[in-house]
Protein backbone atom coordinates (compact mmCIF):
# COMPACT_ATOMS: atom_id res chain seq x y z
CA UNK A 1 0.00 0.00 0.00
CA UNK A 2 1.31 3.45 -0.89
CA UNK A 3 1.87 5.53 2.23
CA UNK A 4 3.33 8.67 0.73
CA UNK A 5 3.05 9.85 -2.81
CA UNK A 6 4.79 12.99 -3.98
CA UNK A 7 3.68 14.29 -7.35
CA UNK A 8 5.56 16.96 -9.26
CA UNK A 9 6.60 18.96 -6.23
CA UNK A 10 8.73 22.00 -6.85
CA UNK A 11 10.22 24.69 -4.68
CA UNK A 12 12.08 27.69 -6.04
CA UNK A 13 14.13 30.20 -4.12
CA UNK A 14 14.29 33.40 -6.20
CA UNK A 15 15.09 31.61 -9.43
CA UNK A 16 17.08 28.76 -7.90
CA UNK A 17 15.17 25.53 -8.51
CA UNK A 18 15.94 23.80 -5.21
CA UNK A 19 13.35 21.07 -5.82
CA UNK A 20 12.34 20.70 -9.44
CA UNK A 21 9.31 18.60 -10.31
CA UNK A 22 10.05 15.70 -7.98
CA UNK A 23 7.75 12.70 -7.78
CA UNK A 24 8.27 9.70 -5.61
CA UNK A 25 6.33 6.97 -3.90
CA UNK A 26 6.86 5.21 -0.61
CA UNK A 27 5.12 1.97 0.28
CA UNK A 28 4.20 1.09 3.81
CA UNK A 29 7.00 -0.75 5.61
CA UNK A 30 9.74 0.31 3.20
CA UNK A 31 13.02 2.01 3.90
CA UNK A 32 13.60 4.49 1.11
CA UNK A 33 16.94 6.23 0.67
CA UNK A 34 17.42 9.67 -0.80
CA UNK A 35 20.89 10.57 -2.03
CA UNK A 36 22.49 13.38 -3.96
CA UNK A 37 25.38 15.79 -3.80
CA UNK A 38 25.33 18.74 -1.42
CA UNK A 39 22.78 21.27 -2.57
CA UNK A 40 20.85 18.70 -4.59
CA UNK A 41 17.68 19.64 -2.74
CA UNK A 42 17.29 16.70 -0.38
CA UNK A 43 16.71 18.69 2.78
CA UNK A 44 14.53 21.19 0.91
CA UNK A 45 12.36 18.29 -0.21
CA UNK A 46 12.17 17.09 3.41
CA UNK A 47 11.18 20.57 4.47
CA UNK A 48 8.39 20.61 1.90
CA UNK A 49 7.16 17.21 3.04
CA UNK A 50 7.06 18.24 6.69
CA UNK A 51 5.38 21.61 6.26
CA UNK A 52 8.49 23.56 7.04
CA UNK A 53 8.28 25.13 3.62
CA UNK A 54 5.19 25.26 1.53
CA UNK A 55 5.86 23.69 -1.88
CA UNK A 56 5.36 26.11 -4.77
CA UNK A 57 3.48 23.44 -6.67
CA UNK A 58 2.65 19.77 -6.91
CA UNK A 59 0.85 17.57 -4.47
CA UNK A 60 1.89 15.50 -1.48
CA UNK A 61 -0.50 12.75 -0.46
CA UNK A 62 0.02 10.94 2.81
CA UNK A 63 -2.22 8.01 3.64
CA UNK A 64 -4.73 9.20 1.04
CA UNK A 65 -4.87 12.81 2.27
CA UNK A 66 -3.42 15.95 0.75
CA UNK A 67 -0.88 17.47 3.14
CA UNK A 68 0.98 19.95 0.94
CA UNK A 69 -0.75 22.93 2.52
CA UNK A 70 -0.64 21.79 6.15
CA UNK A 71 1.50 23.42 8.81
CA UNK A 72 4.36 21.50 10.39
CA UNK A 73 2.63 20.56 13.64
CA UNK A 74 -0.43 19.26 11.80
CA UNK A 75 1.72 17.11 9.53
CA UNK A 76 3.29 15.67 12.65
CA UNK A 77 -0.18 14.99 13.99
CA UNK A 78 -1.04 13.17 10.75
CA UNK A 79 1.80 10.77 11.47
CA UNK A 80 4.98 12.06 9.85
CA UNK A 81 7.95 12.46 12.18
CA UNK A 82 11.34 13.87 11.31
CA UNK A 83 14.83 14.46 12.59
CA UNK A 84 17.04 17.37 11.64
CA UNK A 85 20.37 17.34 9.87
CA UNK A 86 21.78 19.37 12.73
CA UNK A 87 20.29 17.90 15.91
CA UNK A 88 18.07 20.42 17.65
CA UNK A 89 17.65 19.24 21.22
CA UNK A 90 15.90 21.44 23.78
CA UNK A 91 19.04 22.01 25.81
CA UNK A 92 17.46 23.14 29.06
CA UNK A 93 15.19 20.10 29.25
CA UNK A 94 16.16 16.61 30.33
CA UNK A 95 16.20 13.77 27.81
CA UNK A 96 12.91 12.56 29.26
CA UNK A 97 11.22 15.98 29.05
CA UNK A 98 12.51 16.44 25.50
CA UNK A 99 10.85 13.20 24.52
CA UNK A 100 7.64 13.95 26.41
CA UNK A 101 7.15 17.03 24.22
CA UNK A 102 6.89 14.61 21.31
CA UNK A 103 4.75 12.10 23.19
CA UNK A 104 2.08 14.73 23.86
CA UNK A 105 1.43 14.56 20.12
CA UNK A 106 -0.12 11.14 20.74
CA UNK A 107 -1.39 11.32 24.28
CA UNK A 108 -3.37 13.89 26.21
CA UNK A 109 -2.72 12.48 29.65
CA UNK A 110 0.54 13.23 31.39
CA UNK A 111 1.08 9.70 32.68
CA UNK A 112 0.56 8.14 29.26
CA UNK A 113 2.86 10.70 27.64
CA UNK A 114 5.60 9.99 30.17
CA UNK A 115 5.16 6.23 29.81
CA UNK A 116 5.45 6.49 26.02
CA UNK A 117 8.47 8.79 26.29
CA UNK A 118 10.21 6.32 28.59
CA UNK A 119 9.44 3.50 26.19
CA UNK A 120 10.96 5.45 23.29
CA UNK A 121 14.06 6.44 25.26
CA UNK A 122 14.49 2.80 26.15
CA UNK A 123 13.95 1.80 22.52
CA UNK A 124 16.85 3.99 21.33
CA UNK A 125 19.03 2.87 24.24
CA UNK A 126 19.23 6.14 26.10
CA UNK A 127 17.60 5.08 29.39
CA UNK A 128 20.68 5.80 31.46
CA UNK A 129 20.69 9.41 30.28
CA UNK A 130 17.01 9.95 30.94
CA UNK A 131 17.53 12.70 33.53
CA UNK A 132 20.50 14.34 31.82
CA UNK A 133 20.03 17.77 30.28
CA UNK A 134 19.99 17.44 26.51
CA UNK A 135 22.77 20.02 26.22
CA UNK A 136 25.11 17.65 28.09
CA UNK A 137 24.78 14.82 25.55
CA UNK A 138 27.43 13.95 22.97
CA UNK A 139 26.73 13.90 19.23
CA UNK A 140 25.72 10.25 19.10
CA UNK A 141 23.41 10.61 22.08
CA UNK A 142 21.86 13.74 20.61
CA UNK A 143 21.04 11.79 17.45
CA UNK A 144 19.40 9.07 19.52
CA UNK A 145 17.44 11.68 21.41
CA UNK A 146 16.22 13.11 18.10
CA UNK A 147 15.05 9.64 17.16
CA UNK A 148 13.39 9.05 20.53
CA UNK A 149 11.53 12.36 20.29
CA UNK A 150 10.41 11.71 16.74
CA UNK A 151 9.28 8.18 17.63
CA UNK A 152 7.39 9.47 20.65
CA UNK A 153 5.11 11.44 18.33
CA UNK A 154 3.86 8.09 17.06
CA UNK A 155 4.81 8.42 13.39
CA UNK A 156 3.82 6.04 10.62
CA UNK A 157 6.46 7.63 8.41
CA UNK A 158 9.79 8.80 9.75
CA UNK A 159 12.02 11.19 7.81
CA UNK A 160 15.65 10.89 8.82
CA UNK A 161 17.99 13.65 7.71
CA UNK A 162 21.56 12.35 7.92
CA UNK A 163 21.26 10.62 11.26
CA UNK A 164 24.69 9.06 10.77
CA UNK A 165 26.55 12.31 10.21
CA UNK A 166 29.27 12.85 12.78
CA UNK A 167 28.95 9.41 14.34
CA UNK A 168 31.89 7.15 15.11
CA UNK A 169 32.08 3.87 13.14
CA UNK A 170 30.76 1.94 16.15
CA UNK A 171 27.91 4.39 16.63
CA UNK A 172 27.08 4.13 12.92
CA UNK A 173 26.77 0.37 13.16
CA UNK A 174 24.49 0.75 16.17
CA UNK A 175 22.47 3.36 14.31
CA UNK A 176 21.95 0.99 11.36
CA UNK A 177 20.67 -1.62 13.77
CA UNK A 178 18.42 0.94 15.43
CA UNK A 179 16.93 1.97 12.08
CA UNK A 180 16.23 -1.69 11.26
CA UNK A 181 14.55 -2.03 14.64
CA UNK A 182 12.40 1.04 13.95
CA UNK A 183 11.26 -0.42 10.64
CA UNK A 184 10.53 -3.71 12.33
CA UNK A 185 8.29 -1.89 14.79
CA UNK A 186 6.12 -0.91 11.83
CA UNK A 187 7.41 2.55 10.92
CA UNK A 188 8.12 3.40 7.29
CA UNK A 189 11.35 5.32 6.73
CA UNK A 190 12.58 7.89 4.24
CA UNK A 191 16.21 8.71 4.86
CA UNK A 192 18.79 11.11 3.51
CA UNK A 193 22.25 9.68 3.97
CA UNK A 194 25.77 10.25 2.77
CA UNK A 195 27.24 7.13 4.34
CA UNK A 196 26.78 4.87 1.32
CA UNK A 197 27.40 1.41 2.78
CA UNK A 198 24.83 2.08 5.51
CA UNK A 199 22.28 3.46 3.09
CA UNK A 200 22.78 0.71 0.56
CA UNK A 201 22.40 -2.02 3.14
CA UNK A 202 19.27 -0.50 4.66
CA UNK A 203 17.26 0.76 1.70
CA UNK A 204 14.73 -1.14 -0.34
CA UNK A 205 14.56 1.66 -2.87
CA UNK A 206 16.90 4.56 -3.52
CA UNK A 207 16.08 7.86 -5.21
CA UNK A 208 18.83 10.11 -6.53
CA UNK A 209 18.46 13.87 -6.65
CA UNK A 210 20.71 16.09 -8.74
CA UNK A 211 20.26 19.86 -8.83
CA UNK A 212 16.71 19.57 -7.65
CA UNK A 213 15.75 16.91 -10.20
CA UNK A 214 15.17 13.23 -9.65
CA UNK A 215 17.63 11.45 -11.94
CA UNK A 216 17.28 7.86 -10.90
CA UNK A 217 15.21 5.41 -8.92
CA UNK A 218 15.85 1.78 -8.18
CA UNK A 219 17.20 -0.82 -5.82
CA UNK A 220 20.57 0.00 -4.26
CA UNK A 221 22.29 -2.31 -6.77
CA UNK A 222 20.58 -0.72 -9.76
CA UNK A 223 21.32 2.80 -8.58
CA UNK A 224 24.98 2.16 -7.87
CA UNK A 225 25.43 0.95 -11.46
CA UNK A 226 23.55 3.81 -13.08
CA UNK A 227 25.85 5.91 -15.28
CA UNK A 228 24.18 9.20 -14.54
CA UNK A 229 24.36 8.58 -10.82
CA UNK A 230 28.01 7.67 -10.95
CA UNK A 231 28.75 10.80 -12.93
CA UNK A 232 26.80 13.19 -10.77
CA UNK A 233 27.32 11.75 -7.34
CA UNK A 234 28.92 8.42 -6.67
CA UNK A 235 31.84 9.02 -9.00
CA UNK A 236 32.88 12.04 -7.07
CA UNK A 237 32.97 10.23 -3.80
CA UNK A 238 34.82 7.31 -5.37
CA UNK A 239 37.53 9.64 -6.62
CA UNK A 240 37.74 11.38 -3.27
Amino acid sequence: MTLLSVNGVYKHFSGNKAVDNVSLEIKEGEIVGLIGANGAGKTTLFNCLTGYYRADGGSIIFDGKHIEKLKAHLICRMGIGRTFQIAKPFGDLSVLDNTVVGAYNQFKSKSEAYAEAKRCIDFVGLSEKSDTDASDLNTGEKRRLELARALATGPRLLLLDEVMAGLTPTESVEMVELIRKIRKSGVTILMIEHIMPALMSLSDTVYVLDQGKLICKGTPAEVSENKQVIESYLGKTAEA
Partner: protein, 320 residues
Protein backbone atom coordinates in the same frame (compact mmCIF):
# COMPACT_ATOMS: atom_id res chain seq x y z
CA UNK B 1 20.81 19.70 46.59
CA UNK B 2 18.64 19.43 43.54
CA UNK B 3 16.44 22.06 41.96
CA UNK B 4 13.41 20.95 43.92
CA UNK B 5 15.19 21.29 47.26
CA UNK B 6 16.58 24.69 46.36
CA UNK B 7 13.10 25.79 45.33
CA UNK B 8 11.66 24.61 48.64
CA UNK B 9 14.32 26.33 50.73
CA UNK B 10 13.79 29.53 48.74
CA UNK B 11 10.03 29.32 49.11
CA UNK B 12 10.23 28.92 52.87
CA UNK B 13 12.80 31.72 53.23
CA UNK B 14 10.75 34.10 51.12
CA UNK B 15 7.53 33.24 52.97
CA UNK B 16 9.17 33.81 56.36
CA UNK B 17 10.72 37.05 55.15
CA UNK B 18 7.41 38.34 53.78
CA UNK B 19 5.48 37.43 56.95
CA UNK B 20 8.05 38.98 59.25
CA UNK B 21 8.16 42.06 57.05
CA UNK B 22 4.39 42.36 57.13
CA UNK B 23 4.38 42.28 60.93
CA UNK B 24 7.37 44.53 61.57
CA UNK B 25 7.58 47.04 58.75
CA UNK B 26 5.71 50.28 58.46
CA UNK B 27 5.99 53.73 56.90
CA UNK B 28 8.65 54.23 54.25
CA UNK B 29 10.07 50.72 54.59
CA UNK B 30 6.64 49.21 54.00
CA UNK B 31 6.29 51.34 50.85
CA UNK B 32 9.55 49.93 49.56
CA UNK B 33 8.26 46.43 50.34
CA UNK B 34 5.22 47.12 48.20
CA UNK B 35 7.41 48.44 45.37
CA UNK B 36 9.46 45.26 45.59
CA UNK B 37 6.34 43.15 45.18
CA UNK B 38 5.03 45.22 42.25
CA UNK B 39 8.37 44.68 40.53
CA UNK B 40 8.22 41.00 41.49
CA UNK B 41 4.75 40.61 39.95
CA UNK B 42 5.84 42.39 36.77
CA UNK B 43 8.92 40.21 36.76
CA UNK B 44 6.95 36.97 37.07
CA UNK B 45 4.65 38.19 34.32
CA UNK B 46 7.60 38.84 32.02
CA UNK B 47 9.10 35.54 33.12
CA UNK B 48 6.22 33.57 31.62
CA UNK B 49 6.40 34.86 28.08
CA UNK B 50 10.02 35.92 27.86
CA UNK B 51 11.80 33.84 30.48
CA UNK B 52 10.12 30.52 29.76
CA UNK B 53 8.72 30.92 26.25
CA UNK B 54 11.63 33.05 25.01
CA UNK B 55 9.47 35.73 23.37
CA UNK B 56 11.32 38.82 24.48
CA UNK B 57 8.98 41.65 25.44
CA UNK B 58 10.23 45.18 25.65
CA UNK B 59 6.75 46.58 26.05
CA UNK B 60 5.21 45.02 29.12
CA UNK B 61 3.96 48.48 30.07
CA UNK B 62 1.20 47.95 27.52
CA UNK B 63 -0.37 45.23 29.69
CA UNK B 64 0.33 47.08 32.93
CA UNK B 65 -1.27 50.22 31.50
CA UNK B 66 -4.31 48.38 30.19
CA UNK B 67 -4.85 46.83 33.61
CA UNK B 68 -4.45 50.20 35.31
CA UNK B 69 -6.71 52.07 32.91
CA UNK B 70 -9.42 49.44 32.60
CA UNK B 71 -10.13 49.17 36.31
CA UNK B 72 -9.72 52.91 36.87
CA UNK B 73 -11.97 54.00 34.01
CA UNK B 74 -14.60 51.40 34.91
CA UNK B 75 -14.54 52.82 38.42
CA UNK B 76 -14.49 56.55 37.67
CA UNK B 77 -16.89 56.39 34.71
CA UNK B 78 -19.31 53.62 35.74
CA UNK B 79 -18.68 53.06 39.42
CA UNK B 80 -17.61 49.46 38.90
CA UNK B 81 -15.55 48.25 41.84
CA UNK B 82 -11.85 47.91 40.98
CA UNK B 83 -12.04 44.39 42.40
CA UNK B 84 -14.14 43.53 39.35
CA UNK B 85 -12.28 45.99 37.12
CA UNK B 86 -9.07 44.18 37.97
CA UNK B 87 -10.31 41.01 36.25
CA UNK B 88 -11.86 42.88 33.35
CA UNK B 89 -8.48 44.58 32.90
CA UNK B 90 -6.72 41.22 33.02
CA UNK B 91 -9.00 39.85 30.31
CA UNK B 92 -8.58 43.00 28.21
CA UNK B 93 -4.81 42.74 28.52
CA UNK B 94 -4.90 39.07 27.54
CA UNK B 95 -6.91 39.96 24.43
CA UNK B 96 -4.57 42.80 23.50
CA UNK B 97 -1.63 40.46 24.13
CA UNK B 98 -3.12 37.85 21.80
CA UNK B 99 -3.71 40.51 19.15
CA UNK B 100 -0.13 41.80 19.41
CA UNK B 101 1.17 38.26 19.31
CA UNK B 102 -0.99 37.25 16.38
CA UNK B 103 0.01 40.26 14.32
CA UNK B 104 3.68 39.90 15.15
CA UNK B 105 3.92 36.16 14.60
CA UNK B 106 1.69 36.29 11.55
CA UNK B 107 4.35 38.47 9.95
CA UNK B 108 7.05 36.20 11.29
CA UNK B 109 8.65 38.70 13.64
CA UNK B 110 11.19 36.99 15.80
CA UNK B 111 13.66 37.77 18.56
CA UNK B 112 14.83 41.38 18.41
CA UNK B 113 12.19 42.33 15.87
CA UNK B 114 9.42 40.97 18.05
CA UNK B 115 10.86 42.84 21.04
CA UNK B 116 10.82 46.05 19.00
CA UNK B 117 7.21 45.41 18.00
CA UNK B 118 6.17 45.09 21.65
CA UNK B 119 7.98 48.35 22.40
CA UNK B 120 6.13 50.00 19.53
CA UNK B 121 2.75 48.73 20.76
CA UNK B 122 3.39 50.14 24.24
CA UNK B 123 4.24 53.50 22.70
CA UNK B 124 1.13 53.40 20.51
CA UNK B 125 -1.03 52.84 23.59
CA UNK B 126 0.73 55.60 25.50
CA UNK B 127 0.12 58.05 22.69
CA UNK B 128 -3.52 57.01 22.23
CA UNK B 129 -4.25 57.44 25.94
CA UNK B 130 -2.29 60.67 26.05
CA UNK B 131 -4.53 62.13 23.38
CA UNK B 132 -7.91 60.74 24.35
CA UNK B 133 -9.82 63.27 26.45
CA UNK B 134 -12.45 60.77 27.68
CA UNK B 135 -9.66 58.70 29.20
CA UNK B 136 -8.30 61.70 31.04
CA UNK B 137 -5.70 62.60 28.42
CA UNK B 138 -2.17 63.51 29.41
CA UNK B 139 -3.26 64.90 32.78
CA UNK B 140 -4.29 61.43 33.92
CA UNK B 141 -6.96 60.26 36.33
CA UNK B 142 -7.16 60.83 40.06
CA UNK B 143 -9.04 58.04 41.81
CA UNK B 144 -11.48 59.56 44.37
CA UNK B 145 -10.35 58.72 47.87
CA UNK B 146 -13.11 56.79 49.69
CA UNK B 147 -11.10 54.39 51.85
CA UNK B 148 -13.54 51.55 51.40
CA UNK B 149 -12.40 47.94 51.14
CA UNK B 150 -15.19 47.20 48.66
CA UNK B 151 -13.65 49.83 46.37
CA UNK B 152 -10.14 48.38 46.76
CA UNK B 153 -8.98 51.16 49.08
CA UNK B 154 -7.50 50.67 52.50
CA UNK B 155 -6.33 52.79 55.38
CA UNK B 156 -3.28 50.68 56.11
CA UNK B 157 -0.42 49.99 53.74
CA UNK B 158 -0.17 46.60 55.39
CA UNK B 159 -3.38 45.56 53.65
CA UNK B 160 -1.95 46.66 50.31
CA UNK B 161 1.18 44.71 51.06
CA UNK B 162 -0.87 41.60 51.83
CA UNK B 163 -2.84 41.96 48.59
CA UNK B 164 0.16 42.37 46.32
CA UNK B 165 1.80 39.50 48.18
CA UNK B 166 -1.16 37.28 47.30
CA UNK B 167 -0.94 38.36 43.64
CA UNK B 168 2.78 37.57 43.51
CA UNK B 169 2.07 34.21 45.15
CA UNK B 170 -0.65 33.52 42.58
CA UNK B 171 1.74 34.26 39.70
CA UNK B 172 4.39 32.06 41.25
CA UNK B 173 1.97 29.18 41.83
CA UNK B 174 0.81 29.52 38.23
CA UNK B 175 4.40 29.25 37.00
CA UNK B 176 5.09 26.31 39.31
CA UNK B 177 2.14 24.40 37.87
CA UNK B 178 2.99 25.51 34.36
CA UNK B 179 6.52 24.15 34.52
CA UNK B 180 5.20 20.75 35.50
CA UNK B 181 2.64 20.65 32.73
CA UNK B 182 2.53 20.19 28.99
CA UNK B 183 2.23 23.98 28.64
CA UNK B 184 5.55 24.62 30.38
CA UNK B 185 7.39 21.93 28.42
CA UNK B 186 6.06 23.26 25.14
CA UNK B 187 7.04 26.83 25.99
CA UNK B 188 10.59 25.84 26.89
CA UNK B 189 10.74 23.74 23.72
CA UNK B 190 9.60 26.72 21.64
CA UNK B 191 12.21 28.91 23.31
CA UNK B 192 14.94 26.38 22.53
CA UNK B 193 13.95 25.75 18.92
CA UNK B 194 10.55 26.44 17.51
CA UNK B 195 11.14 24.47 14.30
CA UNK B 196 12.01 21.37 16.27
CA UNK B 197 9.00 21.95 18.53
CA UNK B 198 6.68 22.19 15.52
CA UNK B 199 8.17 19.00 14.09
CA UNK B 200 7.10 17.28 17.32
CA UNK B 201 3.51 18.40 16.88
CA UNK B 202 3.60 21.56 19.01
CA UNK B 203 1.27 24.25 17.69
CA UNK B 204 3.84 27.00 18.06
CA UNK B 205 1.54 29.94 17.36
CA UNK B 206 -1.09 28.74 19.82
CA UNK B 207 1.38 28.24 22.64
CA UNK B 208 3.07 31.57 22.03
CA UNK B 209 -0.31 33.26 22.28
CA UNK B 210 -1.12 31.40 25.49
CA UNK B 211 2.21 32.58 26.91
CA UNK B 212 1.58 36.20 25.98
CA UNK B 213 -1.97 36.13 27.33
CA UNK B 214 -0.99 34.58 30.66
CA UNK B 215 1.85 37.04 30.94
CA UNK B 216 -0.47 39.95 30.14
CA UNK B 217 -2.94 38.87 32.84
CA UNK B 218 -0.40 39.21 35.64
CA UNK B 219 1.01 42.49 34.33
CA UNK B 220 -2.53 43.88 34.19
CA UNK B 221 -3.20 42.80 37.79
CA UNK B 222 -0.06 44.71 38.77
CA UNK B 223 -1.42 47.70 36.86
CA UNK B 224 -4.72 47.74 38.74
CA UNK B 225 -2.93 47.31 42.03
CA UNK B 226 -0.65 50.22 41.16
CA UNK B 227 -3.55 52.58 40.43
CA UNK B 228 -5.39 51.63 43.60
CA UNK B 229 -2.31 51.97 45.75
CA UNK B 230 -1.05 55.28 44.39
CA UNK B 231 -4.50 56.68 43.55
CA UNK B 232 -3.33 58.38 40.38
CA UNK B 233 -2.37 57.24 36.90
CA UNK B 234 -1.43 58.96 33.69
CA UNK B 235 -0.20 57.55 30.36
CA UNK B 236 3.40 58.60 30.89
CA UNK B 237 3.47 56.61 34.13
CA UNK B 238 1.64 53.39 33.35
CA UNK B 239 2.57 53.03 29.67
CA UNK B 240 6.14 54.20 30.30
CA UNK B 241 9.11 52.22 29.09
CA UNK B 242 10.29 52.47 32.69
CA UNK B 243 7.54 49.98 33.55
CA UNK B 244 8.65 47.67 30.74
CA UNK B 245 12.18 47.88 32.06
CA UNK B 246 10.98 47.13 35.57
CA UNK B 247 9.47 43.90 34.25
CA UNK B 248 12.73 42.85 32.60
CA UNK B 249 15.35 43.78 35.18
CA UNK B 250 14.23 41.49 38.04
CA UNK B 251 14.31 38.56 35.60
CA UNK B 252 17.72 39.32 34.11
CA UNK B 253 19.23 39.84 37.57
CA UNK B 254 17.40 37.08 39.38
CA UNK B 255 17.30 34.55 36.56
CA UNK B 256 14.73 34.41 33.80
CA UNK B 257 13.04 31.10 33.18
CA UNK B 258 13.42 30.15 36.85
CA UNK B 259 10.64 29.94 39.42
CA UNK B 260 11.98 32.34 42.06
CA UNK B 261 14.58 34.31 40.09
CA UNK B 262 12.37 37.36 39.43
CA UNK B 263 11.42 37.53 43.12
CA UNK B 264 15.07 37.58 44.16
CA UNK B 265 15.81 40.10 41.43
CA UNK B 266 13.08 42.45 42.61
CA UNK B 267 14.20 42.02 46.21
CA UNK B 268 17.66 43.13 45.20
CA UNK B 269 17.12 45.95 42.75
CA UNK B 270 14.25 47.93 44.28
CA UNK B 271 15.99 48.63 47.61
CA UNK B 272 19.19 49.34 45.68
CA UNK B 273 17.31 51.80 43.53
CA UNK B 274 15.81 53.48 46.60
CA UNK B 275 19.24 53.85 48.13
CA UNK B 276 20.61 55.32 44.90
CA UNK B 277 17.73 57.73 44.54
CA UNK B 278 18.04 59.01 48.09
CA UNK B 279 21.81 59.27 47.81
CA UNK B 280 21.62 61.24 44.56
CA UNK B 281 18.54 63.36 45.12
CA UNK B 282 19.78 66.08 42.79
CA UNK B 283 20.15 63.74 39.80
CA UNK B 284 17.00 62.16 38.45
CA UNK B 285 17.18 58.83 36.65
CA UNK B 286 20.05 57.39 38.65
CA UNK B 287 18.02 54.21 38.92
CA UNK B 288 17.99 53.89 35.12
CA UNK B 289 21.78 54.21 35.02
CA UNK B 290 21.93 51.56 37.71
CA UNK B 291 19.59 49.29 35.73
CA UNK B 292 21.65 49.72 32.60
CA UNK B 293 24.91 48.87 34.33
CA UNK B 294 23.38 45.90 36.15
CA UNK B 295 21.76 44.45 33.02
CA UNK B 296 24.98 44.77 31.05
CA UNK B 297 27.01 43.24 33.86
CA UNK B 298 24.64 40.32 34.36
CA UNK B 299 24.27 39.56 30.66
CA UNK B 300 28.04 39.45 30.29
CA UNK B 301 29.09 37.78 33.55
CA UNK B 302 26.04 35.93 34.82
CA UNK B 303 23.56 35.32 31.99
CA UNK B 304 21.65 32.74 34.04
CA UNK B 305 20.92 35.31 36.75
CA UNK B 306 21.45 34.74 40.45
CA UNK B 307 18.90 31.98 40.91
CA UNK B 308 19.72 30.34 37.60
CA UNK B 309 23.39 30.29 38.59
CA UNK B 310 22.62 28.73 41.98
CA UNK B 311 20.52 25.97 40.39
CA UNK B 312 23.11 25.21 37.71
CA UNK B 313 25.88 25.16 40.27
CA UNK B 314 23.97 22.80 42.56
CA UNK B 315 23.04 20.46 39.71
CA UNK B 316 26.62 20.36 38.43
CA UNK B 317 27.86 19.44 41.90
CA UNK B 318 25.28 16.73 42.19
CA UNK B 319 26.24 15.38 38.77
CA UNK B 320 29.88 14.87 39.78
Amino acid sequence: MNTKKINNVTLISLAVLATAFLIVADGYILCIGISVLIAALLGQSWNIMSGYAGQFSFGHAVFFGIGAYTSTLLYTMFGVSPWIGMFVGAIAAALVGSAIGFLSFRYKLRDDYFALATLAFAEIFRIIFNNTKVFGGASGILIPYVQNAAEFQFASDKTYFAIILVLVAAATVFIAFMTRSKLGLNLVAIKANQEAAAALGVNVLKYKLIAISASAVFAALAGTFYSQYYGFIDPSIVFASAISVEAIVPCIIGGSGTLYGPLLGALLIIPLQEICNSAFTSISGVNMILYGVLIAAFIIFCPDGIYGRIIKFANKKRGK
